[in-house]
Amino acid sequence: MTQNKAQKNVKTRLPGGYQLPPFGIQQSLAATIVCVALWMLGMFWLGLQATEQWIGSWQDDIRFHVYLEHEQKDQLKPLMAKLKEVPGVDSIRLVQQEETEAWLSKWLGDSGLTTKEMAEVLPSVIEVLPERNIHEFLFTDIKDEAALLGASVNEEESYFATAQSLFDDMRLFLWIMSALIALAMMVIISNTLRMIILARADEIHLMRLLGAQEWFVRMPFLLEGALIGLLSGTLAWFMDWCVLQLMATWLSELQLDMNSWYLLPVMAGGGVLIGFTGAVIATSDVKQETASIL
């Protein structure tokens, strides 16, 4: 009876195999650090998603306009041919005079005669539609080709191309940062587990002396690493989700429809992968330190 009472008060934790070691302060600290890092990383990716949506909203409207004065009208066809050959140009279109008139009419309040006269003296306009991914020299290429045949371009439209290029750089930067943070988190989990393994070196040595197989000795630490990663990744995603909820009104004003759910499997799965790899590194070191005749 007394023993049963005692048993109830003591939680049986047989070491080795699929049993997880006790979760202590070191593991909690590692999980917190990894969680904060993953949370920040998640926020950056969500920020990129927002930027992508924002850029996407006007990306389809990106056009470059090349202007050719009336006196050089004979250069129109060669210029159009040249512009079509510029790498990164999807299509070109000559803006018809009627279209210009309609545009002027809209802005000048239906004064038909005035718009017709104005449209006749305005330069010919070639509308250049770029491909989806605008490369950084496209605008310069168009400008050069136009200048060769005496045409000019609207300089302000180059900002669109610059914004696209910055966005691509930002995406590359985020990928590199994600890889570096993943590596750093792996090292943190690995070092935490290494400390725990060193603290339990006698226990590990004893298990080996009793004939334990390698997987039996290592499995608890591998599971622990994966669990730290899973907890951190899931919690980090939850924190990202909370931030999105707090910003919901502002985001809807910007007409941004943010989806954080796609990050859940990425962050939880990524956390598991980081933790597991860190544990593999930690346990591979311990094998060399405590192996005897083996």
């Binding site: 007394t2 023993q3 005692a6 048993q7 008060n9 003591v10 049986t12 934790r13 047989l14 070491p15 080795g16 195999g17 006790p22 006698d202 226990e203 004893l206 298990m207 080996r208 002396l209 009793l210 004939g211 334990a212 197989q213 039996f216 005897s292 005749i293 083996l294």
Partner: protein, 221 residues
């Protein structure tokens, strides 16, 4: 069961621990290894369970050649040897049950059968009431009995005991040897490295005297 011929052991530091030991132990034997500190008693035991590899000579334990043994075979061999360490090597963060059940768990025994087996061996060593205690709550003699219970829990045919009565009073030491002899009567081969010469008179066995890493005398007590 155990056969040693011209067994030599030299540590990486250059110290020669065993200098040509010849020894044979039959199944069911009860053997004392005696000698001064540094005579090579612990080294003999460590070579028997493969903690260190001999430098030269022949060593066969339960039919396995310890100089050419594979990793898998060594694990199997260790599962058939019960080891009692001088410092117990009990895991103090775990209960008596968890400590004693460790060899059974390592061998992948059915978890549901661990408790009855552990209870039985603890009853044998007289510690059944301490099943859920932690080792630090036990006396030195009780801790040593837990170590014996752990060594015998998987019912191995060979038990190696390194100074099992070290730091224990005479009465407790005798009780420990009573337990080991009781195991021997059930057919288990027991090899004990000890300093306590007075115990040899009360508990009969084959005495192997070591001096500077070599066997200098073999007799029955």
């Amino acid at each position: 069961m155990i056969s040693m011929q011209k067994l030599m052991l030299r540590y990486p530091t250059g110290k020669t621990a065993l200098a040509g030991v010849d020894l044979k132990v039959e199944q069911g034997g009860f053997v004392y290894l005696i000698g001064e500190s540094g005579a090579g008693k612990s080294s003999v035991l460590r070579t028997l369970y493969g903690d260190i590899a001999p430098s030269y000579g022949e060593l066969h334990v339960q039919g396995m050649d310890m100089r050419t043994i594979t990793t898998a075979n060594l694990r199997q061999l260790r599962q058939r040897i019960g080891i009692i360490f001088q410092d117990h090597k009990l895991i103090f963060s775990r209960t008596v049950f968890e400590n004693v059940a460790l060899p059974l768990r390592v061998q992948g025994r059915d978890l549901n059968r661990l408790l009855p087996r552990v209870k039985k061996v603890l009853e044998f060593v007289g510690l059944s009431e301490h099943l859920w205690s932690y080792p630090e709550a036990l006396s030195g003699g009780e801790q040593q009995r837990v170590a014996i219970a752990r060594a015998m829990s998987s019912n191995p045919p060979l038990i190696l005991a390194d100074e099992p009565t070290g730091n224990l009073d005479v009465v407790t030491a005798r009780h420990i040897l009573d337990l080991l002899q009781a195991l021997n009567k059930h057919g288990t081969t027991v090899i004990i490295a000890t300093h306590d010469i007075h115990l040899l008179q009360s508990h009969a066995g084959k005495i192997v005297q070591l001096h500077q890493g070599a066997v200098v005398d073999t007799k029955a007590s």
